[in-house]
Symmetry: C2
Subunit: 354 residues, 2 copies
Amino acid sequence: LKATTHNLQSLRIQSSAKTVQQVAKLAAVSASTVSRVTNGNASVDETLAKRVWAAIEELGYAPNPQARALVSGRSRTLGLLISELTNPFYPELVQSFENIAGAHDFEVMVGSTISNKDRANLFITRLIQRRVEGVAVMTFRSESPLLDGLVAQNIPLVSVVETFATPRSRFIEIDYAKGFNQTAQHLVALGHKKIAFVSGQMIHVNDIRRRDAFCQSIRSFGLQFREEWTFAGDHSFEAGARAAAYFLGLAERPTAIVCANDLMAIGALRLLYEKQVKVPKQMSVVGLDDIHLAEFAAPALTTMRLSRTDLASNAFDAIQLLRGETLGGKINPLLVSTFLVVRESTGHPSKERR
Amino acid sequence: LKATTHNLQSLRIQSSAKTVQQVAKLAAVSASTVSRVTNGNASVDETLAKRVWAAIEELGYAPNPQARALVSGRSRTLGLLISELTNPFYPELVQSFENIAGAHDFEVMVGSTISNKDRANLFITRLIQRRVEGVAVMTFRSESPLLDGLVAQNIPLVSVVETFATPRSRFIEIDYAKGFNQTAQHLVALGHKKIAFVSGQMIHVNDIRRRDAFCQSIRSFGLQFREEWTFAGDHSFEAGARAAAYFLGLAERPTAIVCANDLMAIGALRLLYEKQVKVPKQMSVVGLDDIHLAEFAAPALTTMRLSRTDLASNAFDAIQLLRGETLGGKINPLLVSTFLVVRESTGHPSKERR
DNA sequence: TTGTAGGCGTTATCAA
DNA sequence: TTGATAACGCCTACAA
């Protein structure tokens, strides 16, 4: 009886995950032939191949990724480093990236860097252990020290933040200038002269870039960039609300608030609602990202669109290029564009407060 | 020179991923001893253990998860099935679950089920290939056929939707009744008699549960549940907006709208803003989930909180239990509570429309 | 073109 | 308690 139980158990376990051996036996070939067929690299007789495919079909065989990775050193896994998943910008980006990667039969490991330094380090370690074949760094801030391990492994590294000291690293530039120019033009055309800016933390490269691009844009329209009309937030609702409160308290109030991301813009909207400051009549608000929510804010948010799909496909293509894959003709440029989406949160400034 | 280069390279590659062998050599013990030390199960002499730890430290050794999984059949990986990442409820849940799992040294594979049937199936296949040690099903709808593979493997399965035909399956119940009773009481106390409900798609188990719980609650307060004051949405902003538009067009308008999730409530808020229906003066709105955004809606959303951390820890504990791990005393009950969070979107109904 | 053999890094089994 | 040895499932020389 005991033996039977054991047999049943081992039977079940065997029946669960098929191996090359089983396929090989069923197809009456050797394991290596099966391997050749599934990998499609070496040449194998057509009749045999057919038999093998039939056996694979019948058994529902799928190669064990662990074993495959172990022996080949190639994991068909990519890493994706983001700031934090709870910023709605990122789930959309993650989805795009996973879709593209998945279509090319890559798995994606997603890790965030904002919350916990130790966990971020652990994540990088896991990426290395898993022998990821490329990593996309889509965070706001420079992650240089964190990524040293990846650099040391010479793992293809694509980043919106910086290039790394690897020949296998590419920088994806985001063309903030274009979007901010459109924003400035839009606001100036509406009659705004006092435009405030809510930045991210100014220790982060991308936050500095955004503020600089904004600054340049309004200057190019003859407006001045005033430090007091600047507020350093942290990309959260709360920061946006704080920023709006700060601007409202100023002796000389701005008439428009441009935010470095949508979350802060919506936070600002919320505070303005609370203080009964009408948007856009008494205050215009502009965001950046164009997350789905922007359209459903009340009022709907005018914002600068930064395409998640563009970002994702650029990153993926760049990684493939770095891995030495030749892309089928259409290579995305390493510049992601931005443009203004005008909705309801911007309008003519009211005269009363001039 | 060439030899030197080669040496450097192999050095770098070696230096990258350490193996048990290297640790063993450095500590002057055998590989198996190193293994015993890292796994801490068998007994090993204290002096040796110290030497091994020192070597591990010096080399920065970390066991290769692939190899470990291959030989042990245990992957230290968990699966997490969600509806879609772009619903803000889920990133918060994912984070909680990953935190708990990570603390217990488990990796998490996250997959969504809404978008694409094929990709969902592929994801399940990957879970099986990766030999996940448990799966948490946190979707709205029944995923039974999809999960057959997991059931067949006898993989621990925890679900908020249903139990499966495995002895290794647990159902986590969500106590909607409690929250909806509080909601009904709150609204009735404010003077509401005509309360509408925006459900999810009524083919989904959890959506049906939510509607039933709502229905019972208002009946228990002597109100009638009317089909025409019901709208079937799909958990999106858009659906919420459509629902609100529908209710507004009714000859006999409800005075309050309760939504099966926050996204729809915020969509409703948005449409009411557009139609210049004041909230809560002319219409009260209630959500469900209490996503972070709820607090920053304008007006801030009154909503029923469904704790992501509770859900995550319940799911994780249940999986551990199914895996046969004994939890340190505190075992979460398999019932996740809900409660009402009153903010600004609910108030007395206006008299004008009675 | 095919099969055999060896090894990827780890753990489990067995002697010692 | 420790160390050699044999797997785990796969791929890739190498030989046939």
